[in-house]
């Protein structure tokens, strides 16, 4: 067992990255993720690892691309407007198949918005946001413990599939302190024959995304498609919280799911059977599991800290077989337990 400590979400994520063997971290200041950079700036030099504050989020993510292309474990972190800038590199990283880990502690938007926790980046981070046909693997932790565990896992999975793994948290999770058992290093490592280490004793190799010749890009896109199918088959994660006997299913991820769980406990005290279906991976999305969990229920309520972005995936999973309602608060607002409870009570028995 690892050490049990009280950590802020940001610090837990940073420590987990260090445990995972992240040797290169590239920073750019933005609230509410600054504790990640501060933690790394303090710890990495002492571990003889590389911390560097870049000139922009764009540069920071391209430094990750360059470092990771040589085979090291590299990471950057940011919050919504900064992630918008990193999206450029996301696309290149996807096309060039370089493993990378990025943390997004979402804040309110659009634009500069505010610095409160929010879930307005689902569309940008889960459905893409940058050019071309690609996916990032997206983890949505809901507790500091899970944030640490998934950050560690993200490095292994990114390396396994040569994919960008994104931790999609929010400002509340980032700033919240909770007890957390530091994860043990997994020890998982994948061979990297593709890494750029100099053409010594082998042919020179290139990491790139440009494929100009007729039909070549399509072949590469098909290769990526196969990889994404493998990720979809093996990496879906979700939590089924009291859904089996429930009449009403609440669907929420991250911080919003905590509110839903509290509402479910209250509802059950009142004899209303409700449960929470919580996607942990947002891509790949647990369509089948949600479809199964929602089958035969009276109502599905999607709860988000946004105007309704994951809602579309919930509707896709449920396919109209059960009515889907939505309760969301954008701009840093968090749905209150009372609101969620009242909404479910309004459905009647």
């Amino acid at each position: 067992m690892g050490k049990r400590v009280l950590l802020k979400g940001n610090e837990a994520a940073a420590e987990a990255a260090l445990i995972a063997g992240c040797t290169h971290y590239f920073a750019y200041p933005i609230t509410p993720q600054n504790e990640i950079s501060a933690y790394m700036a303090k710890r990495m030099p002492k571990l003889n690892r590389t911390f560097l504050q870049a000139e922009s989020e764009i540069a920071a993510c391209n430094m990750v691309y360059g470092a990771a292309a040589t085979g090291v474990r590299a990471m950057t972190s940011s919050s919504s407007p900064g992630i918008a800038l990193k999206q450029e590199a996301f696309s290149y990283i996807a096309g060039a198949e370089v493993p990378a880990v990025v943390i997004n502690m979402m804040r309110g938007g659009p634009g500069l918005g505010n610095i409160a926790g929010s879930q307005g980046d689902y569309n940008m981070c889960v459905r893409g946001g940058s050019n071309g046909d690609f996916h990032n693997l997206v983890y949505a932790p809901s507790t500091v413990q899970e944030l640490a565990d998934l950050t560690l896992k993200a490095f292994d999975v990114a390396e396994k599939y040569r994919i960008l793994a994104l931790i999609l948290g929010d400002g509340y999770l980032a700033q919240m302190s909770e007890p957390c058992v530091l994860p043990e290093p997994s020890g998982e490592r994948h061979e990297k024959p593709w890494a750029l280490t100099g053409a010594e004793g082998r042919d020179a190799q290139v990491i790139k995304s440009l494929r100009l010749a007729d039909g070549v890009l399509e072949v590469h896109n098909r290769h990526l498609e196969e990889k994404y199918k493998a990720v979809e088959a093996a990496e879906v994660m979700f939590e089924n919280f009291m859904c089996d006997d429930a009449d009403f299913i609440l669907v929420a991820y991250g911080t919003a799911s905590r509110v839903c769980k509290a509402a479910v406990m209250r509802l059950r005290e009142k004899g209303v059977k409700a449960g929470v279906f919580r996607p942990i991976t947002l891509w790949p999305y647990p369509y089948e599991a949600l479809s199964a969990a929602a089958a035969g229920k009276k109502k599905v309520l999607t709860v988000e800290m946004s105007l309704g972005q994951m809602l579309l995936d919930v509707q896709l999973a449920v396919r109209g077989e059960v009515p889907v309602d939505f309760l969301g608060r954008p701009g840093g607002g968090v749905p209150m337990v009372d609101e969620v409870e009242e909404r479910v009570l309004s459905y009647g028995r």
Binding site: N62, G66, A89
Partner: protein, 255 residues
């Protein structure tokens, strides 16, 4: 009697057809870098960063490990590579749009950190790959696809001098501007490139070589006229020479 080899393709350059246009300077600079890598026995430790622009296909010609950077981000990608592999020779090869327009921030900050990399900057006063649009280095009055009436400096500003700009920073170790419009200058350019690469091997820090180069296709001229235009139009505005050489400064302090 054995034949004396006067000229051969460097080992660091692949035996492939070029996509560069007749009279273009890229091939010359590629060859110079390749020769330097051979002479320094560095081919196997080189990590090349290719830009967006005509130089994007540099990895088709150099027989070294290479990566393709997003437009303008080559110095950031090079920074990541060098920080991860300090024992490798990292070269950021960029054109004028890449280095001085979309990548200005990355250029200045890599230089300002004194990043131990070598930047080779091809200044041909135009965007080549996209068919000849105004670059940050396009000359006053120069006609391009996006300045059909000539570059109006009162409207879009003056051409930027990269060496002079970077020479305001404290950290860079070596800054030089050379040209490849004729043979004597090509030889000087090679010396400069060799020096810039050696500085990196010696752990000295950031070296920047600006190469004035020809783009006859997009300038709408023949190869010789292109070379003459570098000499007659570009060189008066972009003077050749060493702007920064901390090596010489160090040596003179010792005396």
């Amino acid at each position: 009697m054995a034949d004396k080899i006067l000229y051969t393709r460097p080992r660091s350059i692949r035996d492939v057809k070029t996509h560069y246009c007749p009279g273009c300077g890229h091939g010359i600079v590629h060859k110079l870098i390749g020769e330097c890598l051979d002479e320094m026995n560095c081919r196997e430790k080189t990590l090349l960063v290719a830009p967006v622009g005509c130089g994007v296909l540099a990895y088709n010609y150099f027989d070294v490990d290479a990566i393709e950077a997003p437009h303008g981000r080559a110095p950031a990608v090079a920074t990541g590579m060098k920080r991860a592999r300090k024992d490798k020779l990292v070269i950021s090869y960029q054109g004028d749009g890449d280095l001085l327009a979309i990548g200005t921030a990355e250029t200045i900050h890599a230089a300002n950190r004194g990043e131990n990399i070598t930047v080779i900057f091809i200044n041909n006063a135009i965007y080549g790959m996209t068919g000849g649009q105004m670059a940050p280095t396009t000359m006053e009055g120069q006609v391009t696809k996006t300045t059909p009436y000539g570059r109006d400096v009162t409207d879009v500003g003056y051409p930027i001098r990269a060496c002079e700009l970077l020479n305001t920073l404290m950290a860079p170790y070596y800054i030089e501007r050379v040209s490849v419009h004729d043979v004597p200058n090509i030889l000087k350019a090679k010396k400069a490139i060799r020096r810039a690469l050696q500085n990196q091997l010696d752990g000295k820090g950031y070296s920047f070589i600006e190469v004035l180069s020809m783009c006859p296709t997009n300038w709408g001229v023949d190869a010789q006229t292109g070379a003459d235009w570098v000499r007659d139009v570009m060189m008066p505005y972009y003077p050749l020479g060493v702007f920064r050489d901390k090596g010489t400064e160090e040596a003179s302090r010792v005396q």
